[in-house]
Amino acid sequence: MALQQASMPAGSASVRNGGGIEGSARVAEKLQFITFTLDAEEYGVDIMMVREIKGWASTTRIPNAPPHVRGVINLRGVIIPIFDLKARFGIGLTDPTKVNVVIIVHTGARTVGLLVDTVSDIISVEPGAIRPVPEMGTQSEDNFIDGLVALDDRMVTLVSLSGLFRDKAEPSLYADNRLSQ
């Protein structure tokens, strides 16, 4: 079930540099996303960022870490932190069982694991089909949504990995992501 990516093509990197999918110059090429679920909602991450997908296994807790940091695992000799995406989004804490899935992603210089409920699909999207998040009237400082995609009757929220963990609680974590890409 591993989806190993040999390298990250320049096209994908420039998408990230643009700060969002909309900024991409490569209109003609379809973008691919891996979609997963947290509770009932469906989310997507850029497939070029995904290194592999593995089942949940117990982690080693990091002392005094924020609740969305589930600890670290050994991925073929590399120590990788696992983040509970649900907790990070503020929609509850995942109680992981064997059916939960960890998506290993590579962003910037770091490799991290995202704990999600299930992985559901790989979707191809025309860049033009990605819609911006509508004004919701709420002021959110979080910047982890790149856009929304409508698929038939489903809605997929595209997650911006580089914007994801920028948090006042842990300013040093991922702070320099965009620069390093």
């Binding site: 002392p63 600890g71 120590i79």
Partner: protein, 698 residues
């Protein structure tokens, strides 16, 4: 800028980098050779080697346009050439000048690398001195010099006159029995000049009569060389008794360059058919290169991968042991072999990273020399054990502590020459810098024959600063070790010489950061001795595996002083500060790991768990309260920061045999926010004010 220019610029920068790396190596070699020269242990090759090093530096500098470096190197080279020709004797004055010139050369290289400007006439005086020396002005009249052992380097007065020698070389059986090798002899000849070789078959018997182990072949050689007959004969020094040898001068060769080499033989013996590659005119040895230049990153990658293999192997082993014995016969044996091979592989890989301490030791003589001149003292640094190998990462971080210690030894340790004379010591002070292996660790010793530590002053100062209770009586070694306490300025106490007063606590902290320990022994009036004991590598450490609740942590063994299970009577609460443990009359603050790390289900009562007494740098001891000790283990240190962040109190992580990650405690950083620090209340009086730095060394 076009791409081409970009490329050219990039490759030039790369070449430059390589050049400066080479310069550093060449300088190191030159310093080593100069040291031999100074100790009168030199042979011909020494001077040649120095010359070659300077010549290579000059050549590269010319290519990159470092004109100032070229000019200086040229002057130095000229002097060296005069010396190796033998027309100028190697006196101590010459050696001193060469050392100064080498220092200046290092500075000029540094200038070229960093583009930082030295003063315009930085080298002018020295260049003049070199020129004077070449002209012979620098040699005090009639002072007999140490002449380099006569040999190949002493040229015939008729410079360039190439002579032809005919040599018959018939090895006897004894030559081989004494483990001599004709090939080496022939190579030795080739160092003198071009050689023509023919094989002599005349002694070859019938096949039936041939003894397998006997030698029937010999060589007829024609050597064209500028060297003297004595030099040619010297080549055969080791074999002359075990062969039939004749050397005759047959005439003067026409000075036509490029004598062709033809091996006129189809003889199957390896010695005769060996390919003799044409040599460069400067007469470097034709041996293949003995080392290759490898990027450190590549080596690190291999080191990491081997680390993975070790962990994998541990996992397989655990699985294998749990299988029923007859499930797969041979599996256990296979795993056992695997583990042995892996251990060997790991050692070999670590050996690649290991470097002789020479790379850091070689900088020290200059430091001592310059400091001694500045302070007007006479100091000699004797370095030994430079070939002791230690991991690269450790070496890099050794330079600072060693510099501190040597500086202190010259500044505060060694007395002025007059003072020494009055004390009946030789005017010349001696500092020894030694390295060696001792039970899996490297031990570096810095000893001087200076004034030593004045214990009365040290103790008085420590009492004045409140570092020691007024009525405490300390053993001598305990007093000596007080100098490592923070806030203890050595300058004002150990000696009256005003100076930097380099804090020994900084040195101790640096050494501790490397997982090492430092100790001092001193004899007032006779000198001091600092002992540094360091791990061979930073990539692997010995750790104690401890359990706290369901979590597993590793405590570096170097930090652990002892472990014990206290009784309730030994534990007292200090209001607002936490608990302390009475240990042989000392109050040790307790640090409950489970509280600090928020671990559930841990043993909350220290009397039912285990207290591990740890000591980081400086402030004394702390008792870590854990559930139990699980055992001692070597662990491969992994970084948490690569993919996460630095965590308070955690120095890194490792992977246990079951594949799980375990965190390694950083004892120093644990205590940073431990709350209860070493209590400033007066320590209970008693003889056991523990300073146990020496314990781990013994």
């Amino acid at each position: 800028m076009s791409d081409d220019q970009n490329d050219a610029g990039a490759s030039l920068a790369r070449f430059e980098k390589t050049y400066f790396e080479e310069c550093a190596e060449l300088l190191d070699a030159a310093y080593g050779n100069l040291a031999e020269l100074a100790e009168e242990k030199a042979c011909d090759e020494t001077m040649h080697a120095i010359f070659r090093a300077v010549h290579s530096i000059k050549g590269g500098a010319g290519a990159f346009g470092f004109n100032r470096l070229v000019a200086f190197a040229h002057e130095l080279e000229t002097l060296l050439d005069t010396l190796r020709e033998g027309s100028l004797a190697v006196t101590p004055d010459v050696v001193a000048l060469l050392l100064r010139a080498a220092d200046a050369l290092a500075d000029l290289i540094d200038e070229a690398r960093s583009a930082k400007e030295l003063v315009p006439d930085f080298e002018a005086g020295l260049m003049q001195a070199l020129r004077d020396m070449i002209r012979g002005d620098g040699v005090p009249g009639g002072k007999p010099g140490l002449k380099i052992r006569a040999g190949a380097a002493v040229r015939d007065t008729s410079e360039g006159a190439v002579q032809l020698y005919r040599i018959n070389f018939m090895p006897k059986l004894e030559l081989f029995q004494r483990a001599n090798e004709p090939l080496l002899v022939i190579r030795g000849l080739r160092r003198l000049g071009a050689v023509r070789i023919e094989t002599e078959f005349s002694r070859l018997p019938n096949l039936a009569a041939m003894e397998v182990e006997d030698c029937y072949l010999g060589w007829r050689l024609v050597l064209s060389t500028a060297a003297s007959q004595a030099a040619v004969e010297e080549v055969f020094d080791f074999v002359v008794d075990d062969c039939d040898l004749s050397i005759e001068l047959v005439g003067v060769a026409t000075p036509v360059a490029a004598v062709s080499i033809d091996v006129v033989s189809t003889d199957p013996t390896p010695a005769a058919s060996v390919a003799l590659a044409p040599e460069s005119a400067r007469g470097e040895t034709a041996l293949p290169p003995q080392s290759i230049r490898v990027d450190v990153d590549k080596v690190d990658r291999v080191v990491n991968l081997v680390g993975e293999l070790v962990i994998n192997q541990a996992m397989l082993r655990e699985l294998g042991i749990n299988l029923p014995p007859d499930f797969c016969p041979g599996l256990i044996n296979g795993l056992e072999t695997l583990s042995q091979n892996l251990r060997e592989l790991q050692e070999s890989v670590m050996a690649i990273r290991a470097q002789p301490v020479k790379s850091v030791f070689s900088r020290m003589p200059r430091l001592v020399r310059e400091l001694a001149v500045r302070l007007g003292k006479e100091v000699r640094l004797v370095v030994s054990g430079e070939s002791t190998e230690i991991d690269k990462t450790v070496i890099e971080q050794l330079a600072d502590p060693l510099t501190h210690l040597l500086r202190n030894a010259v500044d505060h340790g060694i007395e002025s020459s007059d003072e020494r004379e009055a004390l009946g010591k030789p005017r010349l002070g001696t500092i020894h810098l030694r390295a060696g292996h001792r039970s899996g660790r490297i031990v570096i010793e810095i000893s001087d024959d200076g004034r030593g530590i004045d214990r009365e002053k040290v103790l008085a100062k420590a009492r004045e600063r409140g570092l020691v209770a007024q009525d405490a009586s300390l053993r001598d070694d305990e007093i000596d070790n007080l100098i490592f306490l923070p806030g203890f300025s050595t300058a004002a106490i150990v000696s009256s010489v005003s100076g930097r007063g380099v804090g020994m606590d900084v040195v101790k902290r640096n050494i501790h950061a490397l997982g090492g320990r430092i100790a001092v022994e001193s004899n007032f009036g006779a000198g001091s001795r600092f002992l540094l004991s360091l791990p061979l590598t930073l990539a692997v450490l010995d750790g104690m595996v401890v359990a706290v609740g369901r979590e597993t942590y590793i405590i570096p063994l170097t930090n652990i002083m002892e472990s014990l299970r206290p009784t309730a009577a030994n534990i007292h609460a200090v209001v607002g500060r936490g608990d302390v443990l009475t240990l042989r009359g000392v109050y040790v603050p307790l640090f409950y790991l489970h509280r600090h790390f928020m671990v559930a289900d841990a043993v909350a009562d220290a009397c039912r768990g285990t207290v591990v007494i740890v000591e980081g740098e400086g402030e004394g001891q702390v008792g870590l309260v854990v559930d139990e000790l699980l055992g001692q283990q070597q662990v491969v240190v992994k970084s948490l920061e690569t993919n996460y962040d630095a965590v308070d109190g955690i120095g890194g992580a490792t992977i246990l045999g079951n594949g799980m990650v375990a965190l390694i405690l950083d004892v120093e950083r644990l205590r940073g926010d431990a709350g209860p620090r070493a209590p400033k209340v007066p320590q209970p009086a008693g003889p056991s004010h523990t300073t146990s730095h020496l314990r781990s060394l013994n």
